[in-house]
């Protein structure tokens, strides 16, 4: 290898190395969300007596990762349904179609989605419209007379079934 050839290769090689080194923080900051912790915590919703048997109501709680700059976005809403004395069900507010927030229609006991018209029954199962499955649910428990919900990622549905972020 002569001197010129060597210097050519050296320059190209070092330039590629520089580019690769600079790419580390760029790609790293882009894909950081894959490596951040995914904490899940139980959030207190209120005393058990606050909820009437057979009724569905909107509950709000803080996400697991609530940054001081998150503002209103740190909250999550869910539909809580008290089935009997002890049993609760908590449905995700997100339509399984494309994630819009579903509304509970008290009179007809259905959930309606404002985006593409998805409909769910009171037990969260799919009733009509484009949603592929029923509403997903949050883990819920009663602890010392208080209702608690386990914070969860936004539910993602695809052809392989339900995934969580």
């Amino acid at each position: 290898m002569d001197r010129r050839k060597f210097l050519t290769r050296l320059s190209i090689g070092l330039s590629s190395l520089i580019a690769a080194l600079i790419a580390v923080p760029v790609v790293g900051s882009l894909i950081a969300p894959f490596f951040t912790e995914k904490p899940r915590v139980w959030r207190d919703i209120g005393p058990i007596d606050k909820f009437k048997i057979g009724e569905t109501s909107l509950v709000k709680f803080e996400d697991a990762t609530n940054r001081s700059w998150s503002g209103p976005t740190s909250k999550t809403g869910a539909w809580l349904r008290r089935q009997d004395k002890k049993k609760f069900k908590v449905f995700s507010i997100n339509c399984t179609h494309l994630g819009c927030p579903v509304r509970w229609i008290k009179g007809s006991k259905i959930f309606l989605c404002p985006c593409h018209g998805g409909v769910y029954y009171e037990d969260g199962s799919r009733a009509a419209g484009p949603p592929p499955t029923g509403l997903s649910q949050y883990p819920v428990r009663v602890n010392k007379g208080r209702v608690q919900i386990l914070t969860s990622p936004i539910p993602i549905t695809n052809i392989l079934g339900e995934n969580q972020l």
């Binding site: 882009l30 894909i31 950081a32 969300p33 894959f34 951040t36 995914k38 909107l58 697991a64 990762t65 609530n66 940054r67 001081s68 700059w69 998150s70 503002g71 209103p72 976005t73 740190s74 909250k75 999550t76 809403g77 507010i93 997100n94 179609h97 494309l98 994630g99 819009c100 927030p101 579903v102 509304r103 229609i105 009179g107 007809s108 259905i110 309606l112 404002p114 985006c115 593409h116 018209g117 409909v119 029954y121 009171e122 009733a127 009509a128 419209g129 484009p130 592929p132 914070t151 969860s152 990622p153 936004i154 993602i156 549905t157 695809n158 052809i159 392989l160 995934n163 969580q164 972020l165």
Partner: protein
């Protein structure tokens, strides 16, 4: 004074060689007779530069934080110049997308993508994708209720892709839920990442135009023959070419000026989409909608047959991208005149019709429940029919009216029930309400939740919806009218 300026300029020009670099580009020969069809590309580029300027100005006022972005948008909206600036940025974006669409149609109809300009088309397709991404992320930066739900919808769409979907969704919103990280990411995408790639490709696109020259207006029976075309083109330019500046460029300048005037007029007399409610994921009183250029996709998601959606969301963009990118390879030679390529013209007409039709449906969105509908007045049932009177109320409180309209009031998801009494017997009505519709995605079954009394009253009311009875009453119109 004039002398000093001239001297200074001569000094700068001598040391920098600016004229030497720019004049050949400005004066390079272009085919004669390009005309007004050729102004849309430069019009698009003009809108982009306007977006850069107005975007930088907005960045002076905007707070890119999930917690405070909304307040800063209110601040921008609440003084006249800020509002004007936001309008300029919105209509600039709209203009860019619209002109880019027209430019693309012009290039396709005149087959300017044929040899040796295949790369022009390919970089153009990438620019289209990047521009739509700019539009979508820009809408999100409004960070009102629509903004956060657009972020969720984007994540859900990405999530439909098997295996990598959930990673993509996480990549987009920066975590498991919409939160502190989400807006910072979309801000970085909209202001740094996508523009960086966009400028790279705009530069490449324009460089290609300089290298291969603009395509001459097509003529019948003058096919493109790869291998021979370049020589022919050079000869033609030598014989008949005119300097780009000013012979062709004056139209670009005039058109850009008109575009600017149109955008300024729109910014003064029309308004960018209103700022919605705060970005609160627990506020369910929202009706999320995309901005106008994506309304047709929004409609597509509501109207495609149940069951194919997973395939359409995942494969649709891939197929469309593959078709667009393959066009210059499938047909890079032969006739360019649209008169000789009727199927190409028909294809454009079909795509435009398809998009316009879905755009119209998205604008109407009859599939969405109408949450704002007003109750029907009790006076629309004949006097003395107590069950029907209760039924009218139930028709509203039970939510029937969100999807069904009577006398113009109510939603359009389900059939109009204005004269349903003429079509269905009481028994048929009960069967339908209890079991729901027989179609996939049709009416839900209300059997498990509706009481016998409620069913009886609603059916009693619906039985009064007969032409004969209604004509006698004619009350809906006299008591508040139709929904807006």
């Amino acid at each position: 004074m004039k002398k000093i300026f001239k001297k200074t300029w001569n000094w700068i020009d001598d040391r920098s060689g600016l004229s030497e670099a720019i004049l050949p580009m400005a004066k390079h020969p272009v085919p004669p007779g390009s005309g007004w069809w050729y102004v849309f590309g430069s019009g698009t580029a003009f809108c982009l530069s306007l977006q850069v300027v107005t975007g930088i100005c907005l960045a002076l006022l905007y707070q890119p934080s999930s917690g405070t972005a909304y307040q800063s948008l209110k601040f921008i909206n609440n003084f006249p110049l800020g509002h004007f600036l936001r309008n300029l940025h919105f209509f600039g974006a709209s203009g860019m997308i619209l002109l880019m669409g027209i430019h693309m149609i012009r290039v396709f109809i005149m087959a300017s993508y044929k040899y040796p300009r295949e790369m022009h088309w390919i970089t153009g397709v990438i620019l289209l994708l990047l521009t739509v991404m700019m539009g979508f992320t820009g809408q999100m930066l409004r960070w009102d209720a629509d903004g956060i739900w657009a972020a969720v919808v984007a994540a859900e769409q990405a999530g439909r892709i098997p295996f990598i979907g959930k990673f993509l969704a996480r990549f987009l919103i920066g975590g498991s839920t919409v939160g502190g990280e989400t807006l910072s990411r979309f801000y970085a995408f909209h202001v740094f990442f996508i523009p960086a790639i966009l400028f790279l490709f705009v530069g490449f696109h324009i460089y290609l135009v300089l290298r291969n020259g603009i395509s001459e207006p097509p003529e019948r029976d003058r096919p493109v023959i790869p291998g021979k075309y370049r020589e022919w083109y050079e000869n033609m330019l030598e014989r008949k070419g005119v300097p780009f500046f000013p012979d062709a460029a004056w139209r670009d300048v005039v058109f850009s000026f008109l575009v600017l005037v149109a955008i300024i007029l729109l910014a003064i007399f029309a308004a960018a989409p209103k700022l919605g409610g705060p970005p609160d994921p627990t506020a369910i009183d929202v009706v999320p909608r995309p901005d106008w250029y994506l309304t047709w996709i929004f409609a597509l998601y509501a109207l495609m047959p149940f069951g194919i959606e997973d395939y359409v969301i995942v494969l649709g963009p891939l197929v469309v991208g593959a078709i667009l990118l393959s066009i210059p390879f499938l047909a890079n030679k032969g006739e360019r005149s649209p008169m000789k390529r009727p199927w190409s013209v028909a294809g454009v007409a079909m795509v435009v019709t398809f998009i316009m039709a879905f755009w119209y449906m998205g604008h109407k969105s009859p599939w969405s429940p109408k949450f704002t509908t007003k109750p029907l007045p009790a006076t629309i049932v004949p006097k003395g029919n107590a069950a029907a009177k209760r039924g009218v109320k139930l028709f509203y409180t039970e939510g029937c009216q969100y999807c069904h309209s009577i006398g113009g009031r109510g939603g359009h998801k389900g059939p109009v029930l204005t004269y349903i009494g003429d079509r269905l017997t009481p028994r048929e009505m009960r069967v339908r309400i209890i079991n729901g519709g027989h179609q996939q995605g049709g009416m839900p079954a209300f059997g498990p939740t509706i009481s016998n009394n409620q069913l009886h009253d609603i059916v009693a009311f619906l039985q009064t919806r007969k032409q004969g009875i209604v004509r006698k009453l004619q009350v809906v119109k006299n008591s508040g009218g139709e929904d807006k």
